[in-house]
């Protein structure tokens, strides 16, 4: 098995049942996983759950890691999958949220005027919570994580066309929600 990245030995040891090696993998990659998951989690408890669920799946499926791509890429794909599953589950449970906060004005970030970055994120979070899970996943990776269409396609396992369509639809919906002319 060819494992090209620097944690190759750790991956091999973890596959062989070495708990210390797996703990070291978690230590090295937790930042990547938690940063992606944080874009979808509503609070720290949910972030903890998403992070743990990701590493439990990694532990379970470690033997299926072929090693033809870096371990980090494989891990990111699993993280995105876990987040997508969580979004779909949440969509079933969640009722509509209030959009009163969306009336807040927005300013040019280069001038530093207007709402803070935290407020902008909160407003976006609220608007994005109304999107379909696929649309939200794509627009988050595309706009907030600053990934290319190709990267998003690789992470989600969807075609580039599907990613572009989803991103376009998500933008249209967000413009409606934030602009206040939601036709629903």
């Amino acid at each position: 098995m060819a494992v090209p990245d620097e944690g190759a030995d750790l991956v091999r040891s973890a596959i062989g049942g070495d708990d210390e090696a797996f703990a070291e993998l978690v230590r090295r990659h937790k930042g990547t996983v938690l940063r992606i998951a944080a874009r979808f989690a509503r609070n720290h408890a949910e972030l903890e759950d998403l992070g743990q669920e990701t590493f439990l799946r990694v532990y379970r499926d470690l033997r299926s890691f072929r090693g033809d791509a870096p371990f980090g890429h494989w891990l990111s794909r699993i993280t995105v999958r876990v987040c997508y599953d969580a979004l779909r589950k949440r969509r079933r449970e969640e009722k509509d949220v209030s959009l009163e906060v969306l009336a807040a004005p927005v300013a040019d970030p280069s001038t530093g005027n207007g709402p803070s970055a935290q407020l902008a994120r909160m407003i976006l979070d609220q608007a994005m919570s109304r999107l379909k899970p696929e649309d939200r996943l794509v627009i988050t990776l595309f706009e907030l994580e600053d990934r290319s269409v190709r990267e998003v396609a690789e992470l989600t396992g969807w075609s580039e066309t599907r990613v572009k369509v989803r991103a376009f639809r998500a933008r249209q919906a967000l413009k409606r929600y934030i602009g206040g002319d939601d036709e629903r």
């Binding site: 938690l34 903890e48 933008r171």
Partner: protein, 103 residues
């Protein structure tokens, strides 16, 4: 007019995204000792063989009781082994043959 409004909304949305990118979510609280908690959950999910054996103990016990009951209810022989009884029951020839041949 409508196009202009859409352009304005695109710009506005991009501003939201730009601002949101400036404030990456804080993960420091969750990151602390995260690996310890993950490993604890992994160990929790594993079950030693003796724990499984203990969990199956009631099943084994029930099975033993069933088998014991079954063997007791079917243990009375169709042909009594004692030759005297067999002779009395009218199966003399067969019994005698069995007795002599040791079957």
């Amino acid at each position: 007019m409508n196009d202009k409004r859409h352009d304005r909304r695109d710009v506005e949305l991009d501003r939201y995204f730009a601002l949101a990118r400036q404030a990456p979510p804080d993960i420091s609280g969750v990151e602390r000792n995260f690996e310890t908690r993950v490993m604890a959950r992994i160990r929790e999910g594993r079950e030693p063989w003796y724990a499984l054996a203990w969990r199956l103990a009631p099943v084994f016990l029930a099975l033993t009781i069933l088998l014991a009951g079954w063997s007791l209810s079917y243990s009375s022989p169709a042909h009594p082994a004692d030759p005297v009884t067999m002779l009395a029951s009218g199966t003399q020839e067969v019994a005698l043959l069995d007795y002599l041949t040791g079957e």
